[in-house]
Symmetry: C3
Subunit: 336 residues, 3 copies
Amino acid sequence: MAASSSLFSCSMHMELFSPKISKCPTDFVCCRSKISYMFDTDTLNAIFKVARDMENIERNSPESQILEGYLMSTIFYEPSTRTRHSFESAMRRLGGEVLTTENAREFSSAAKGETLEDTIRTVEGYSDLIVLRHFESGAARRAAAIAGIPIVNAGDGPGQHPTQALLDVYTIEREIGKLDGIKVGLVGDLANGKTVRSLAYLLAKYKDVKIYFVSPDVVKMKDDIKDYLTSKGVDWEESSDLVEVASECDVVYQTRIQKERFGERLDLYEKARGKYIVNQNILKAMQRHAVVMHPLPRLDEITVDVDADPRAAYFRQAKYGLYIRMAILKLLLVGW
Amino acid sequence: MAASSSLFSCSMHMELFSPKISKCPTDFVCCRSKISYMFDTDTLNAIFKVARDMENIERNSPESQILEGYLMSTIFYEPSTRTRHSFESAMRRLGGEVLTTENAREFSSAAKGETLEDTIRTVEGYSDLIVLRHFESGAARRAAAIAGIPIVNAGDGPGQHPTQALLDVYTIEREIGKLDGIKVGLVGDLANGKTVRSLAYLLAKYKDVKIYFVSPDVVKMKDDIKDYLTSKGVDWEESSDLVEVASECDVVYQTRIQKERFGERLDLYEKARGKYIVNQNILKAMQRHAVVMHPLPRLDEITVDVDADPRAAYFRQAKYGLYIRMAILKLLLVGW
Amino acid sequence: MAASSSLFSCSMHMELFSPKISKCPTDFVCCRSKISYMFDTDTLNAIFKVARDMENIERNSPESQILEGYLMSTIFYEPSTRTRHSFESAMRRLGGEVLTTENAREFSSAAKGETLEDTIRTVEGYSDLIVLRHFESGAARRAAAIAGIPIVNAGDGPGQHPTQALLDVYTIEREIGKLDGIKVGLVGDLANGKTVRSLAYLLAKYKDVKIYFVSPDVVKMKDDIKDYLTSKGVDWEESSDLVEVASECDVVYQTRIQKERFGERLDLYEKARGKYIVNQNILKAMQRHAVVMHPLPRLDEITVDVDADPRAAYFRQAKYGLYIRMAILKLLLVGW
């Protein structure tokens, strides 16, 4: 397949999983010497094409059994029921089986200090693929470096959460129908939200993208992303007028202001959280074809009365995540 | 099928599940505008007939695979390993798959306040049916109101636990062979036990039922149920003589005195708990065809030496619960 | 099969599981009046032969489905993610299904005191086999005494952990190719480690075995095992020279010094833990065919640079545990 070769024309840094697996059904997973895939747009498009196939799999069809006989371990060092559910559903929707560990810290506590590496080397004996959530940045890379089976990074601390970024881009493509030429407003906590940082990074792969940053001053987008976008020739601007931005954009991507980032300065938090709310006023300003996205969970930064509007895409976005994860599991275990 | 029409001749209030599902294989699940089923005796009998079929499914028969390709999520906001195990076993005995969440409160804690509604809308994207246990009365109704897939109420706080009530009635029918004309002694904590309250309520649907209440004064059956039984023409009486009641009844339904209801008045608890014990004396008084039931867990309100008597039906009762839950899952996912 | 008869020529005390099951597919599980199996070497060899078959099962082959339609409950009263994962993987690798309870103490807390026996009698209604981990010595025996389905002991407190002992012996047989005439050095915490105690016990079944004990003085092997070995004619000695022992042995079996055993005497712990480390020096002394084993988790009693040596067998040992557990599940559910 043409797209598979592009998997190795690395142009972006986002660790998703380890290609080190014992059998090599396809080129995709055959690159034993590398521990991360670099996504270019051809690769993304190829993955999205597989995800689209996943949307159309019917119950009890042969396609619903393509991962029969495969066993996935979810090893979560910090709980994330939502992400775990999504991966486990994806595995089961393809006929595969799951071993669950919701409290993987117990591995190390029981051991009074077992290393992540030892845990991985034990668990890889029991399963065919590991989905790892860890509290330390770089944990997925460490795991992939010693594992003989694929490691999927389901978020490692302040580091990356690459399947979230993939599903966000896939959602835009499915909802708007294009990525080149897209106008996206990123709203809310842009300083701490890794979702919006990763999304900005991925969008820079596409042509003629325009990005608006709308956030309270205390949680503005950091310079590293701005500089990266500039270096890639991406047009971006900061704005304090959400209504204006909403009227321009194809996508209003709202995020939660994270209270836990404010420590004792609850006054700053209260001031920040109420500043940019997606409500009926914003919907009124938005174009008919535009959508509202949110990585969830949602508090009151999108009012509940928005849910009924067909442009509220955030629950569909969670569902697209299922298809993206089905695609990734399929690609890692049986190839293209 | 004749019975299915009676599902809509609502005469009793017991929320079991949401009929709002996206596909309508049968009449049973087709009633999108309603969010609860009202059980009359025809409906109960029809469900029991399906449960009876479930008892006879053989390992690896085609019937053991009727839910193949279906995925059930158990979302438990408070732990109830017993109930969760029963539902998950039921699903797997029919070839279906399960996604487990034992600590669903984490959904909201991670979210610092995500609503039940948002959790349901996310999880419904991952599965075909949700079994919900919640700490708040009315939670199942709220979930069903927004879900696009069936919600089974596995207990919502001080509210209802409808599958327990169903399995209790099914147990009586299976053990005694009839429900009309039955004599049942309800024993123990009748004030707080939702099991006995729901059972009294359901038994009122049948003819010529006689109910005895035997309980310490501090935990007597409340007037609402007594008034309801009277209004339905059910013969009931209170008694303090368990031996006498045991000799009259087809079913002695014992329950645990719940220590946690007594707060600091442990003296009252100690007095209440020892008052009515099912032991060899009670067995001696009971008729040969009669049985002892208990919703479990059991402490010392039934002595261990009763277990060996064939009239000790409480572990069989737990097993009947499995068949009832198999029947419910089957009806909700593939219809009659 | 010839070996099956030897299952009843009991010569060793190690409770593994209950033979009381409702159906008797083979002699192996038919012995209803006994609650433990006594392993002699013929039995061990027969089990190892089945384990060897398990190593060669291919994905989606008919053999990978021999437990289709069977349901295993894991009831863990204390967490042991590693052991649970191993059993659950074993069950799924044979086509069976799993019900998980990671926090079985909740059974009793919810019940404010439900007995283990009642929990077992409830759960046996939901599944075909129970894997039990408990914090009290003798719990597996109690469970097996009342259960109508097989109970597999996955460790009961300071009592036994028989599948660990089985997999240790299997590992030696697979790595060294023999058990008669073997020389094994047991190193580390020999006073508290039930692994090394059980292993010494099992090795005494074989001919011409030589055992070396190498441990800090505070955690020396206890007299009961030494006396047992002497009574069986097993040659053993204590040594403080790990290099010398390593040069003699086929197997260096290292264990973790358990900090929690030292209470407030952390000075003694620190002195003990550093005394016998398996590192490059030990590897240099070891023969080419010899191996290093460890029950895991490992702290620093084996240095990480040992991992790359082909004689480091501890991760393979974990994998052999999977095959042993597959064999046991197969034997208990469908027989030889």
